[in-house]
């Protein structure tokens, strides 16, 4: 495996971006609200360093073993981030909002079935079974994570649950990245692991770097404090109260 200068630059940029985001999450105390996300970003930093060291100084077989072990941990942690976001959004009072858990698990379950079925639709061009399974596995994980984030977004929107700035930033950045990742893995399943592999991976990395930059800025900034009521809104509410009082008086008169 030979890496071009661009590959190495993107690898280094990913490492620096993840390290800066990790530092922002720690220094600004965001890890308290997003512990799993913080662990995931810290894991990405450690994984990049470890894999780069193994790529340079270790054998290909050990590199592959560590790579696949890290990939499975990555998948587990990404599921953890979905769960973390779902808990933040759908448990504003500390308990699940009525209907939210049911909808989340119902649609999430349907998503798992769909994500499991989709990779079996296609037969990726690969020289051996391991190659086929690799492409299918990647497609499964990106489709599943995309679906689960979609379910969280859709459920919270339908139930009228508001998002505060940090969780909104996490969802938006992740959404853009995971949608692109899903299409990249879909194209890998068509072209195989040889044709256009590098170009497609570069696209995925560019988008991830964009998401990293967005997260660094958003997680560094404080969420706006609960604002006092504005004068315009005060006027609206007072007018509303007057109308309500009138309506209630009328209602009492009719009873």
């Amino acid at each position: 495996m030979n890496l071009s200068a661009l590959d190495e630059a993107l690898w280094a940029a990913g490492l620096v971006g993840n390290a800066v985001l990790f530092a922002a999450l720690i220094l600004r105390q965001r890890w308290r609200g997003f512990p799993v996300f913080t662990v995931l970003i810290g894991f990405y930093v450690a994984r990049t360093v470890l894999l780069f060291a193994m790529y340079r100084y270790s054998s290909a077989i050990w590199y592959a073993r560590v790579y696949w072990f890290a990939a499975s941990m990555d998948f587990g942690l990404q599921l953890g981030v979905v769960w973390e976001v779902a808990r933040i959004v759908m448990r504003p009072t500390g308990t699940w909002v009525q209907d939210a858990r049911k909808q989340f698990f119902l649609w999430g379950g349907a998503g798992v079935l769909l994500a499991a079925a989709l990779p079996w639709l296609v037969s990726p061009p690969a020289s051996n079974l391991l190659g086929v399974m690799e492409v299918r596995g990647n497609l499964f994980t990106s489709v599943l994570i995309c679906e689960l984030f979609f379910v969280v977004t859709l459920t919270s929107t339908r139930l009228g649950l508001g998002w505060r700035n940090h969780v909104a930033a996490l969802i938006v950045g992740w959404a853009v990245w995971v949608i692109v990742a899903m299409f990249v893995d879909g194209l890998h399943s068509f072209f195989g692991a040889q044709r256009y592999f590098t170009v497609l991976e570069h696209v995925r990395m560019y988008v991830y770097l964009g998401a990293l930059g967005y997260w660094i800025v958003q997680f560094w900034l404080q969420e706006p404090a609960r604002r006092p009521i504005s004068p315009e809104l005060r006027e609206h509410i007072l007018a509303l109260h007057t109308r309500v009082q009138s309506n209630l008086d009328t209602l009492d008169g009719r009873r």
């Binding site: 504003p92 639709l121 929107t157 508001g162 068509f190 609206h236």
Partner: protein, 183 residues
């Protein structure tokens, strides 16, 4: 050679998922950015006095509590159009309650949850009414549960509205007496 048809299906499904996700995200971001006057402007006029009469008949039973006829109830809630308006207003009211969390989080979040439960009852009651109407139109049979559903819908809407107004009133306990005194 790679068979193209499965990839076409895969491409369509991935595109549909990506587009649905992007659309849900867009709706959610738009919902976050809407101002209070924008939300209030979305409320549709509902004859609350009439809805209140139906709700009071159910919530405060008195002697002769079954005197209100189903036809009267149906007329007071504005028929099917009135029920659909209530459902649409309920969605806006939920967003107004969520908006109040910006300055009164503790109470806002609990009232919001209570209102969501009311909204759930409202949607359920309206779905029952819709099913009853389908049954009546197809089979010509009157559904005896229909008046109960209308009662439940009116009560849920009444409670949602009262909870929302009480939430906003609590946020302005200091201001309201001044206004009342000056009027």
């Amino acid at each position: 050679m790679t068979a193209v048809q499965p990839y076409f299906v895969l491409g369509v499904l991935l595109f549909a998922l990506g587009a649905a996700f992007a659309s849900a995200l867009w709706s959610s971001m738009k919902q976050r950015q809407r101002s209070w006057p924008d939300l209030v402007a979305e409320l549709e006029p509902v004859d609350f006095e009439s809805v209140g009469v139906v709700a009071s008949d159910y919530l405060n039973p008195m002697a002769g509590q079954i005197s209100m006829e189903p036809e009267e109830m149906w007329r007071l809630v504005g028929g099917y159009d009135g029920l659909k308006k209530m459902c649409r207003n309920a969605r806006v009211m939920l967003q107004l309650a969520a908006y109040a969390q910006r300055w009164n989080f503790e109470e806002g979040v609990i009232v919001h949850e209570r209102m969501r439960r009311d909204a759930s009852s409202l949607y359920h009651a309206v779905r029952c009414v819709e099913l009853g109407m389908i049954r009546r139109n197809l089979l010509g049979r009157f559904n005896f549960t229909l008046p109960f559903s209308v009662h439940e819908a009116a009560c849920a809407y009444y409670l949602m509205r009262q909870r929302l107004l009480a939430l906003y009133e609590t946020s302005h306990a200091g201001l309201y007496p001044t206004l009342a005194a000056s009027l």
